[in-house]
């Protein structure tokens, strides 16, 4: 099989996102990640299907030279589910925004996670409705001033990580749009994960919500306000790599290494494969000013998948049943002869 490159995944369609939109970077990361995934898993290009709902980020399938389905608002997850169950051989990638996945499509989102269907969901979270020009979304901060909340919202936002892990998700990762290398890493891990993978990309909407994630992405504060979690590595962060996370028996705490008697030995080591969901929830929930926001693969555990379950059950019943064709079916049960 010829080695695929990023170019093979670029379609001939003009990319029409605004200049400076965070979606460009996520698309670039995906186009770079898929050749690596293809090599690792021996996947042909025709095996990829990219699905989306409605919204700015949902234009992504047009820019990928793969099979693609740009569906309707909120329903991408249901479409992806159908594709994967119908043909588990296909590998399904889904692009959806915070409004698409968590407002109108919230129901499908949590149920896909609950079923653990083997699809890769890229959640572009810019905390705003972009394509409809600037209304608040279910992830907009409390009090956000937008066109539909001129005096500020009076509702709490969803934390996508809490939602995913609350639905007993088997894979959750978070990153920033600009973290190209980390995003490739996350996408590759998601591809290797057998089950429902949710990747939250905190993206910048340069027009309607510029700087929404500035507190995390600004180079001057990034190192102190975020922590990149990697398996087997200590949870250390900060510009001077002098801060770390410990577990004090009740909750996770930030400590300064070398202060208050804490040494590097006390710092937690990340294990995304740990079955205990509590620690992953705590990590996913961290936010400023008391905590750094966790980036990277937070949870990646094995569990049975829905698509395998459906396929195996069909095989099992086929092997046992006496009905092998429709003629058998029609003559099954009570029948009678007229001579």
């Amino acid at each position: 099989m010829a080695t695929l490159t990023a170019k093979d995944f670029k379609s001939d369609q003009e990319v029409r996102w605004c200049p400076g939109c965070g979606d460009h970077a996520v698309l670039a990361a995906l186009q770079r990640a898929l050749p690596k995934v293809s090599q690792a898993l021996n996947y042909e290009k025709e095996r990829y299907v990219v699905v989306s709902g409605i919204g700015c980020s949902s234009r992504l399938p047009y820019y990928m030279d793969t099979f693609g389905f740009h569906s309707i608002h909120g329903r991408a997850t249901a479409i992806s589910t159908g594709i994967k169950v119908a043909n588990p051989w296909l590998t399904v990638w889904q692009a959806c925004g915070d409004g698409d996945a968590l407002a109108i499509g919230g129901n499908h989102f949590i149920h896909a996670i609950r079923r653990n269907i083997d699809i890769n969901i890229m959640l572009f979270n810019n905390q705003i409705y972009g394509l409809t020009k600037g209304q608040y979304s279910p992830t907009s901060k409390f009090g956000a001033i937008t066109k539909t909340s001129p005096y500020g919202t009076v509702e709490h936002p969803f934390e996508p990580g809490s939602l995913v892990l609350g639905a007993k998700g088997t894979f959750f990762a978070r990153s920033l749009d600009v973290e190209l290398a980390l995003n490739e890493e996350i996408m590759t891990a998601a591809a290797l994960h057998d089950g429902c993978s949710v990747m939250e990309f905190l993206t910048n909407c340069v027009i309607f919500n510029d700087g929404a994630h500035k507190a995390l992405s600004d180079p001057s504060v990034k190192a102190d306000h975020t922590i990149v979690l990697r398996d087997g590595e200590k949870m250390i962060f900060g510009k001077n790599r002098d801060k770390g996370l410990i577990y004090d028996g009740k909750k996770i705490r930030v400590v300064h290494i070398g202060e208050g008697g804490f040494t590097e030995d006390d710092i937690l080591v990340h294990d995304s494969h740990a079955n205990n969901i509590g620690i992953h929830m705590a990590l996913a929930d961290m936010k400023g000013p008391d905590y750094p926001v966790a980036l990277g693969v937070i949870r990646d555990v094995k569990d049975v998948t829905y698509d395998d379950g459906v396929r195996d059950q069909v095989k099992e019943v086929m092997a046992k049943s006496k009905i092998h064709c429709v003629d058998d079916l029609l003559h099954s049960g009570s029948t009678w002869e007229v001579k």
Binding site: S11, D12, Q13, E44, K45, E46, R47, V49, V51, I54, P61, Y62, D65, T66, F67, G68, F69, H70, S71, I72, R75, A78, I79, S80, T81, G82, I83, K84, V85, A86, N87, W89, L90, N107, H108, H111, V310, Q313, V314, V317, M318, K320, S321, I323, H324, C325, V326, D327, L329, L330, H331, G333, S334, T335, W336, E337, V338, K339
Partner: protein
């Protein structure tokens, strides 16, 4: 009194009781037994929306009507020859369905003061109060005798009283000279694995009911209904409409070589289709019980994109929820079968009752210019063919298809001469084939000039990468807001659906080919209209009849047939949706409406009267 055995052409029996009394089961058993015996048969379950409505009240009455005959039977019958009422409420709710000479069997034990009060009787004689005291009344202490029958069975009191329906069935079997063996066989099959201990008690109650009837003086005569002699040779089975839909879909899966995928959300009265498909995984069917109606259709659309025969099943309110996704399937030009088992509406309406009120929604209920083929079934067994044809049209013409069934068809049953699958046509989807030349791309909406159908390229097919979706595109699959392109695509999608007419059967007129009056109907009203029509023809009336199974597009000879009649009487269970549809297409003809909107099937008598009014 001399006991007589009277041979009769047909008989209608209505089983009625509390929704927990097991009347649906009792009626079904009587029907299955009669089917095996070789009678013509039609059934009509009439049950409340509540699983266990307040005990003993009129709103909680569940009924099951069985019509058996020594000739072919096409309707469950307007009025019954025998009513079995397990309590005062059942008697009150069903007395109006009794013929002048009907026999009425009641459980005397249920007619105590409390039972009479719950049913709202004002006097202590319910028969006089209902004006049915002149019928043949069999007032039997069914509960007491069931208890007596099973007093040594070791069963608890609650389980014993549940067996009273079998006592009743025993009585009915005696009166209509039915053999008990098929019921024994049913009990063995049903309980041998999990509850073998209940087989013997149930048999005993059934036998005791039969023997009681043989001994009691109140039953003057018994009846026989001979098997149908003119029936075509072959193997028969009894089948409900919902089961037939499921099997027709499986048949289409086999004939197309595509795995069946059904994404559905449970909804009355369509749920049995999903349940039936879930059983038949051995034929490769995958069923997904979705989180909601929208996920039902969207998972199906995804499965269709991935190359399955995709199906979603629902009823009216679910069709409303699926509207947007139907538009997506139209735009993406993907095959999909949507089965709508219509019920009384609007909104939640009358979930367990039947109606034909979703026709407008099926034809027009979407945004944009969004044509979808609509086909229907005319009897429970015909649902097999209809589901097969819906799938064939969807797959060969690359379009979603709506199959309009009805609660009356879905829950009703009739004997069916089992077809041979080798007599069914192949289904050949327009798969894209060959390799795409280097530097060129697959054009997902380029059409066959004859049929206007685009090719189907399925993910996994090398070189055929393309994107579909809800946004308007050019034939090459590129996004476009070009005015001329939009006009072209709208016209082409409409033309694709219109040309399906070439693949559907012509209408067949019964009676004279021209004349004063043509009676027409569509869907599940066939049996009633046909009965009325045949009765009037036998009386020598000058009338013709044709029935529509295909609504959009209409059969090609529709206009020609209409042009041969002065007046066209359109009979339907709504306020005139099909008539209005026809008027819009054929304003030159004189359509007259005959409508019923009581969430109940037509009565043959009503249709006869309507026809006579127009003659």
């Amino acid at each position: 009194m001399q006991h007589k055995v009277i041979d009769t052409k047909d008989v209608v029996i209505r089983f009625a009781g509390d929704s927990g009394d097991g009347m649906q089961l009792t009626g079904s058993l009587f029907a299955d037994m009669s089917a095996i015996y070789g009678n013509g048969l039609s059934t009509f379950p009439d049950y409340p929306a509540e699983i266990r409505a307040p005990h003993g009240t009129v709103s909680g009455v569940s009924g099951f009507q069985v019509h058996i005959g020594s000739e072919e039977v096409t309707t469950p019958g307007d009025f019954c020859d025998m009513l079995i009422a397990m309590n005062p409420a059942a008697l009150k709710a069903n007395a109006k369905w009794c013929k002048r000479h009907a026999m009425i069997l009641v459980d005397e034990d249920a007619f105590d003061e409390a039972g009479m009060n719950k049913a709202g009787f004002k006097t202590d004689n319910p028969f006089v109060e209902l004006g049915i005291e002149d019928r043949t009344l069999i007032i039997a202490p069914i509960s007491t005798m069931t208890k007596e029958s099973l007093k040594d069975s070791g069963m608890d009191n609650k389980s014993i009283i549940k067996c009273k329906n079998m006592f009743t069935l025993g009585i009915a079997c005696y009166i209509y000279n039915r053999p008990l063996e098929p019921i024994y066989a049913y009990l063995d099959k049903k309980f041998s694995k999990k509850h073998p201990e209940v087989i013997a008690p149930n048999r005993k109650v059934l036998d005791d009911g039969f023997n009681y009837a043989a001994n009691v003086q109140a039953i003057p005569n018994t009846y026989t209904v001979e098997p149908v002699k003119s029936a075509k040779k072959g193997t028969y089975r009894n089948i409900t409409g919902n089961q037939a839909v499921a099997w027709g879909l499986l048949a289409a899966s086999e004939k197309s070589g595509l795995p069946l995928f059904c994404g559905s959300y449970p909804i009355t009265p369509a749920t049995a289709i999903l349940e039936e498909l879930a059983i038949h995984k051995s034929l490769g069917a995958k069923t997904l019980q979705a989180e909601d109606e929208i996920a039902g259709i969207c998972t199906a659309i995804g499965a269709s994109f991935a190359g399955n025969l995709a199906v979603t099943t629902t009823s009216g309110p679910g069709l409303s929820l699926k509207s947007e996704a139907l538009g997506l399937a139209v735009m993406a030009e993907l095959p999909l079968v949507l089965v709508d088992v219509q019920r009384g509406g609007p909104s939640t309406g009358l979930p367990t009752k039947t109606e034909q009120t979703d026709l407008n929604q099926a034809l027009y209920g979407r945004n944009g210019e969004c044509p979808i083929p609509v086909i229907t079934a005319h009897s429970p067994a015909n649902c097999f063919y209809a589901a097969f044809m819906a799938s064939k049209i969807a797959l060969e013409h690359m379009t979603p298809v709506i199959l309009l069934s009805e609660g009356f068809l879905g829950n009703g049953s009739e004997p069916w001469l089992i077809p041979d699958m080798k007599d069914y046509p192949e289904i050949k989807p327009p798969f894209a084939s060959g390799s795409i030349p280097e530097g060129e791309k697959f054009h997902p909406f380029e059409r066959d000039p004859e049929t206007m159908v685009p090719k189907w390229a399925i993910p996994g097919q090398k070189g055929y990468e393309h994107r579909v979706g809800g946004l308007e595109k050019t034939p090459a699959g590129v996004l476009s807001t070009d005015p001329a392109n939009h006009a072209r695509m709208v016209a082409e999608r409409a033309e694709k659906v219109a040309r399906i007419a070439k693949d559907i059967p012509d209408l067949h007129v019964q009676g004279p080919e021209s004349g004063k009056l043509l009676v027409i109907g569509w869907g599940g009203t066939y049996g009633h209209i046909a009965s009325a029509f045949h009765d009037l023809r036998e009386e020598g009336r000058e009338v013709s009849y044709t029935h529509f199974d295909f609504i959009n597009p209409l059969p090609q000879n529709t206009e020609k047939i209409f042009s041969s009649f002065e007046k066209i009487l359109v009979c339907e269970l709504n306020t005139g949706q099909f008539a209005n549809y026809l008027r819009a297409q054929f304003p030159q003809f004189n359509f007259v409406k005959f409508n019923k909107i009581q969430a109940q099937p037509f009565l043959v008598e009503e249709i006869k009267e309507a026809i006579l009014n127009e003659l």
